[in-house]
Amino acid sequence: MTIAGTRNGPATAGEVSWQRRCAPPITAILIAIALWWSATSVLSGPESVLRQTAPQHVVPALSGLLERQVLLGDLGVSLWRLSIGLAVATVIGMPLGLLIGSSRIAERAGGPIIAFLRMISPLSWTPIALAMFGIGNQPVVFLVAVAAVWPVLLNTAAGVRAVDPGLLNVARSFHATRWEMMLAVILPAIRTHVQTGIRLALGVAWIVLVPAEMLGVRSGLGYQILNARDQLAYDQVVAVIVVIGILGFLLDTTARWLLSPARRA
């Protein structure tokens, strides 16, 4: 028998561990979908709009969105805004982090302002962003960057502070200039910290992106949610929510994989 054959084969150990690894999340996902279905199709009243948000309606809505050729376009635009926003945040956050991490005076001077700005929800800048940049990609990129700059900055600064003083002393004994120390010692040493910062920034940026796209743009996942809501198409609203969740999961997994120490070694 084939089944018996595979069971007895050399692949047994790998297969079992594969099953062990995948069975719990798959079961949990199935249970979650069952709960979702029962909450929307069984527990909600017959006239409730919640009925539209049931999984059996969301899947056709998803294919409807794909058919109308709006979903992939929205996805692309959203990812583009996300990456530009992250890039802006890195370009601004890293140098500032280096400065604050390496200079006591800069740290003392900047500390209160950073603490003040960091605790302001990025979305509260929306009216100002719309007034400054008008309607289009720019306000969204700005809001994403405002949200993502702090993890990059703080992690870079922490990285600089955590550099082994021994390394710096060695560099000093070779009469390295500040610039040479930065290039040869500090930058390589803070790599992990910066990567962690960018990964955290990615998470924050993804969360801010969708609400930022609800204002002043005519494309993107956030826009699509509001646009579907305007037509009371709740199945489409939930379809886009599902897409946002899956994409966020993929982004985080990719970032983890790219930055994992095992892969680097």
Binding site: L43, V49, Q52, G73, G134, N227, D230, L232
Partner: protein, 388 residues
């Protein structure tokens, strides 16, 4: 005297957190599982703060709603069409004014039992353009804002654009060489600044936002929609099938009150404007509302002066010819959304299914018969739509 120990403090804080969390959870579960409390069987009215809502609001301010039929508390203010429709569908409110095309869409996509009782008002919208736009052809390659995809504004605008050799597009940049115009949905309050900073070539919306551009000299009224489609309905008075079935007398009382309010507004528009703003029903300043209700001087040479296109009309009777023409026009209208429900619709059959005019008919005869509301005594008319 017992000293407050650290352990007791921690336990207390933990207990408080748990109690707070459970309390919050209970509140969430309660509001998710139980619908809004019924107002003792009285119907509840919802509205958007625009002049379109005037009949519903004047009926309340003048005390025309009988207390047994309609909740005596103020009509509920909503901030967007979507929010108003959501509350209406989920039975938080029973009576509302909705954009007529939106009522069609809701009935045939959500199956939500939306029923049109009559017209709330006619006319009252215009296309406002930036100063650089002299004729409609100059809109090629620019963005034009509309308040909602399924609105009479979008429907008439697209017909108007096509009649002038322009092609309306959604989700694509407009191009001057291809003579396309990009449509975007915007809230009316954002339209005025967007026109001022040059993002928009124009917008189509209800007053007083057209008057605002005219007064601030950031744009000018190019065409009243009533100059394109004579006496078109903008908003309809709507309720649901279950309300009609369960409380027909109350629905009749609402129809009587609204029709009475429409006559009252028409009799003294300045007084109605004052009542709307002083009663804090509408947030706009009194002069703007007064202007929107009266429009003493047409701001451009009207194409059809005898249609009185600048004048907000308050005729309640829903003409079947309008519904039919509207559904036909909706089939030609591009929107960023699902249009498949239109394929199933027979424009000739929609009116009888969507509109229930027996209440308004009765109210009109109680208020002096059809003659009191306009010239067409036999309650039929031919739609007049002209694009020049």
């Amino acid at each position: 005297m017992t000293a407050l120990t650290r352990r007791a403090l921690l336990a207390g804080a933990g207990g408080l957190t748990a109690a707070g969390g459970l309390f919050g959870l209970g509140g969430l579960a309660h509001s998710a599982l139980f619908s809004a409390p019924d107002a003792g069987g009285a119907l509840r009215v919802g509205y958007l703060p625009i002049t379109d809502a005037a009949p519903l609001l004047i009926a309340h301010s003048a005390g025309l709603y009988p207390a047994w039929a309609v909740s005596t508390s103020r009509p509920v203010l909503f901030r967007s069409w979507a929010a108003l429709a959501e509350a209406f569908i989920s039975r938080q409110i029973d009576i509302a004014h909705l954009l007529m095309p939106m009522a069609v869409q809701l009935r045939y996509t959500l199956g939500a039992g939306v029923r049109v009782l009559g017209w709330n008002h006619t006319n009252g919208s215009a296309l406002t353009v930036a100063p650089r736009v002299q004729e409609l052809g100059d809109l090629a390659g620019s963005q034009v804002a509309i308040p909602f995809w399924w609105s009479i504004h979008n429907v008439v605008l697209q017909q108007l654009l096509r009649a002038h050799g322009l092609r309306p597009v959604v989700r694509r940049g407009a191009s001057r060489s291809e003579r396309t115009v990009e449509l975007v949905v915007m809230s009316p309050s954002d339209m005025v600044p967007a026109l001022a900073n040059g993002t928009l070539g124009g917008y189509v919306v209800a007053d007083p936002f057209n008057a605002a551009a005219q007064i601030k000299k950031i744009g000018r009224i190019h065409t009243f929609l009533g100059d394109v489609w004579r006496d078109h309905a903008c908003c309809a008075l709507v309720t649901r099938d279950d309300v009609i079935a369960g409380r027909p007398q109350a629905v009749q009382a609402v129809a009587d009150a609204v029709v009475g309010a429409q006559l009252r507004i028409d009799a003294d528009r300045a007084a109605a404007a004052a009542a709307l703003t002083e009663g804090r029903y509408l947030p706009q300043p009194t002069p703007a509302v007064t202007l929107a209700l009266t429009y003493p001087n047409p701001p451009y040479p009207l194409a059809h002066p005898d249609w009185l296109p600048q004048r907000l009309g308050f005729r309640p009777f829903p003409y079947p010819s309008f519904t039919r023409r509207l559904v036909e026009a909706m089939c030609d209208t591009v929107v960023d959304g699902d249009r498949k429900f239109l394929d199933r619709l027979d424009p000739a059959a929609v009116h009888d299914d969507l509109v229930e005019d027996r209440f308004v008919r009765r109210s009109m005869s109680a208020h002096g018969g059809p003659d009191a509301f306009g010239p067409t005594a036999d309650l039929t008319r031919t739609e007049q739509v002209q694009f020049s």
